[in-house]
């Protein structure tokens, strides 16, 4: 959030070449994260399809289903299988967050901050353009001159994850928790009856249905707009398949993150220059930079900041 040069060409005096090329590829979703997303997506879709008949049993569309008890048996079996898969991927994700560095870093980055609320307001007001419209007409001009933030002239400078992505992630965490707990109670209802009286299970059933409706609509409207129908990404963002984002996209969509990487590289270059100076004196044995678990051939891990990877030519 410090600079505002969008085409910063690097530290003056060192190079005219930009630190990050527009066509440089960054991995924003690792293969592991993409696998989690695909398993979640498939189990969620199966759960929605096989759960819908329970929420809307009166729909005319069901009349076209073949008669007989088999269809409902398949519905129940697929729903519970997909539920088990969703539980498995949720537990896997908990393990990923708790036991791996990548996972815990990811989780920490997803935690909402006050900045996210601020950027939500900035994004909305900037796109609405109301304050700028008033300013151009001299309305509340003194107020906005004194407090420039209120003009919402600039788009929010998003970091690696913005409020949209954080909201979706936390909604999935919350939604899965609610759906898994109420779903297990309905699946193993005889055991649940030992713990709760029927009115409580009635509430569980209601919650399971409404939370599912909320999740379904949120995915259908909000997630699908952001990753698929938004003119910016239409006909679809391929990130969930290859995890790749280009330098240009990064600068445009995640400018704060872009500048962090930029600053980090600049810092590292300075450090390398200093090291070369030392190595020239003493002979090379250690470059002093901490190593990562990535091999030298792997794509750049956009998730890490700081001097954490050695360039192959070092």
């Amino acid at each position: 959030m410090m600079g505002h040069g969008e085409t910063d060409a690097g530290a003056p005096g060192l190079s005219v070449r930009p630190e990050i090329a527009d066509d440089e590829v960054f991995i924003r979703m690792t293969a592991h994260q993409r696998a989690q997303h695909v398993v979640l997506m498939m189990s969620f879709t199966a759960l929605v399809i096989t759960g819908l008949p329970l929420i809307l049993p009166g729909l005319r569309a069901w009349d076209f289903l073949p008669a007989g008890p088999e269809i409902f048996w398949w519905r129940s079996t697929i729903h519970r299988t997909a539920g088990a898969i969703l539980i498995a991927v949720s537990l896997w994700h908990v393990g990923y967050v708790m036991a791996t560095g990548e996972g815990s870093r990811y989780f920490r980055e997803m935690l909402p901050k006050l900045l996210d609320a601020r950027q939500l307001v900035e994004a909305f007001m900037h796109k609405l353009g109301l304050m700028e419209w008033l300013y151009q007409r001299g309305i509340m001009k003194e107020f906005m001159d004194a407090r420039p933030w209120w003009r919402f002239r600039d788009a929010p400078q998003y970091g690696k994850y913005n409020w949209i992505e954080k909201f979706e992630y936390l909604a999935v965490v919350w939604g899965n928790l609610v759906m898994i707990l109420t779903g297990l109670a309905l699946w193993f209802f005889e055991a649940a009856f030992a713990l709760f009286p029927k009115p409580v299970l009635d509430v569980f059933k209601l919650v399971h249905g409404f939370e599912a409706l909320l999740a379904f609509l949120a995915i259908l409207i909000w997630h699908m707009y952001n990753v698929h129908f938004n003119p910016e990404v239409f006909p679809g963002n391929r990130m969930w398949l290859d995890g790749r984002i280009t330098g240009a996209m990064l600068r445009h969509h995640h400018p704060a993150w872009y500048r962090e990487i930029e600053a980090e590289r600049r810092e590292r270059r300075r450090l390398r220059a200093a090291l070369e100076f030392f190595e020239g004196r003493q002979g090379a044995d250690d470059d002093g930079a901490p190593e990562t678990d990535h091999g030298p051939g792997s794509p750049r891990d956009a998730g890490g900041f700081g001097p954490k990877r050695r360039d192959p030519d070092t």
Binding site: P57, I71, E190, K198, P199, V203, W222
Partner: protein, 411 residues
């Protein structure tokens, strides 16, 4: 036409002996005399011919009843051609049947009423026990339907069931008849034979108050259960609305309960009960809870049932079929003290919590406050969240349109 004499025919021969003795005097003229004219179109009208072989094979022919035994007006006639004989009087021998018919719907003098021979045949009359008889169990439907499937007759005489034959052919009773089950009912089993009466007549076996007894002739155990249940006791008390057997099982088209087309098939029974128990007028009149179908469909049982999963509970699983009792009755399956056992018949692990709270939940504030509250909270939250999404998307699109930003990389 007929090669064998069956047992009943042999029994009838005893009667024939008596009839023969009684009529010995009048029978002096054998039917050979009559057949001089009544054969081969001699009289110019084939309707006046009598097929000797056919008559000889009939029960009357077999036991040696002569022409003038029935056409008694012609006994002793010597002047030929004789005057028309008039209608034969079957009551001379069949007094019981004739008396019964005079008390019944088909009594003489009723417009379009059948004669004895309309149903039994004339010269080819055969006993019920004869498979070829028009009144043999399997032939009764077509015999009765000669009139009862006639739309103009049905209309003229206020017969409400327009296609009883087609319906009966669908029934489990007709299937059993075709398979040769000797106990299977045919038309007269339920309606009575000579003494049949309109269902509007309180003496009719198919009058509302008598249907259960009529069915109970064969389905005795069911009849007893029905009499114990609330439908049966209310029916006995003269209630005009409670169902009797036919209210749920249909009239002629009674199907087996495991036939998917039966109104009491597991997948259909909720709809059948709902005819009354979802009827606002009736439920209000009797002070019963309404919306039974909607609340059933709000349960997993109802939804699974609607999709054809018939192993789940339907109305009868919990309430019983014939011996339904209100929940206030201590013998009722749904009396609070019996609920655990009732639920336990499918859910062996059912604990005391199964009996707490309502089954047909209306999600009203009174029924389940928390469910009511949670539903309202969710509806508010869903409309709020989705509304925010819609506003954000609208503002985003407005901004893109205003600034010409449609390509991500163009900025």
């Amino acid at each position: 036409m007929r090669e064998t004499l069956n047992m009943s025919t042999c029994r009838t021969l005893g009667l024939a002996l008596a009839v023969g003795l009684l009529t010995a005097g009048a029978a002096a003229a054998g039917y050979e005399d009559c057949l001089v004219c009544h054969t081969g179109g001699v009289l110019g009208d084939p309707r006046m011919d009598v097929d000797e072989a056919r008559y000889g094979a009939s029960i009357h022919g077999l036991i040696g009843i002569s022409c003038t035994d029935c056409h008694s007006a012609l006994a002793g006639v010597t002047d030929f051609p004789h005057e028309p004989s008039g209608r034969p009087d079957c009551s001379m021998c069949h007094a019981d049947a004739s008396e019964a018919i005079e008390r019944a719907a088909h009594r003489s003098g009723t417009p379009d009423a059948p004669n004895c021979w309309t149903c039994h045949g004339g010269h080819d009359v055969a006993p019920v026990s004869d498979e070829a008889s028009r009144v043999a169990p399997l032939n009764q439907p077509s015999t009765c339907l000669a009139c009862h499937a006639d739309a103009s007759l049905a209309g003229a005489h206020g017969m409400q069931v327009r296609e009883p034959g087609e319906a009966f052919e669908l029934s489990v009773h007709y299937q059993a008849l075709k398979e040769g089950n000797p106990a299977a009912p045919t038309c007269t089993t339920c309606h009575g034979a000579h003494d049949n009466l309109s269902h509007n007549d309180p003496a009719s076996p198919i009058a509302r108050a008598n249907v259960a007894d009529t069915c109970g002739m064969c389905h005795g155990d069911v009849g007893e259960k029905f009499a114990r249940g609330v439908h049966g006791t209310e029916l006995a008390a003269g209630d005009p609305n409670v169902p009797t057997c036919t209210g749920c099982h249909a009239e002629h088209a009674i199907r087996a309960h495991d036939d998917p087309a039966s109104p009491v098939f597991a997948a259909n029974i909720a709809r059948t009960c709902s005819h009354c128990h979802d009827d606002e007028t009736l439920t209000a009149q009797y002070g019963l809870a309404s919306a039974r179908m909607r609340t059933f469909m709000g349960s997993f049982h109802g939804v699974a049932n609607r999709f054809g999963q018939i192993t789940v509970a339907n109305c009868a699983s919990c309430h019983g079929a014939h011996d339904i009792l209100p929940s206030t009755n201590a013998h009722s399956r749904i009396h609070p003290s019996n609920l655990q056992a009732t639920c336990g018949s499918c859910h062996p692990q059912a604990g005391a919590n199964f009996a707490t709270g309502k089954i047909h939940v209306q999600d009203t504030r009174e029924d389940n406050f928390w469910a009511w509250l949670v539903k309202r909270l969710y509806l508010t939250m869903i409309s709020g969240v989705i509304g925010m999404f819609a506003i954000f998307i609208a503002v985003d699109l407005w901004w893109r349109w205003r600034t010409g930003r449609s390509e991500g990389r163009s900025a």
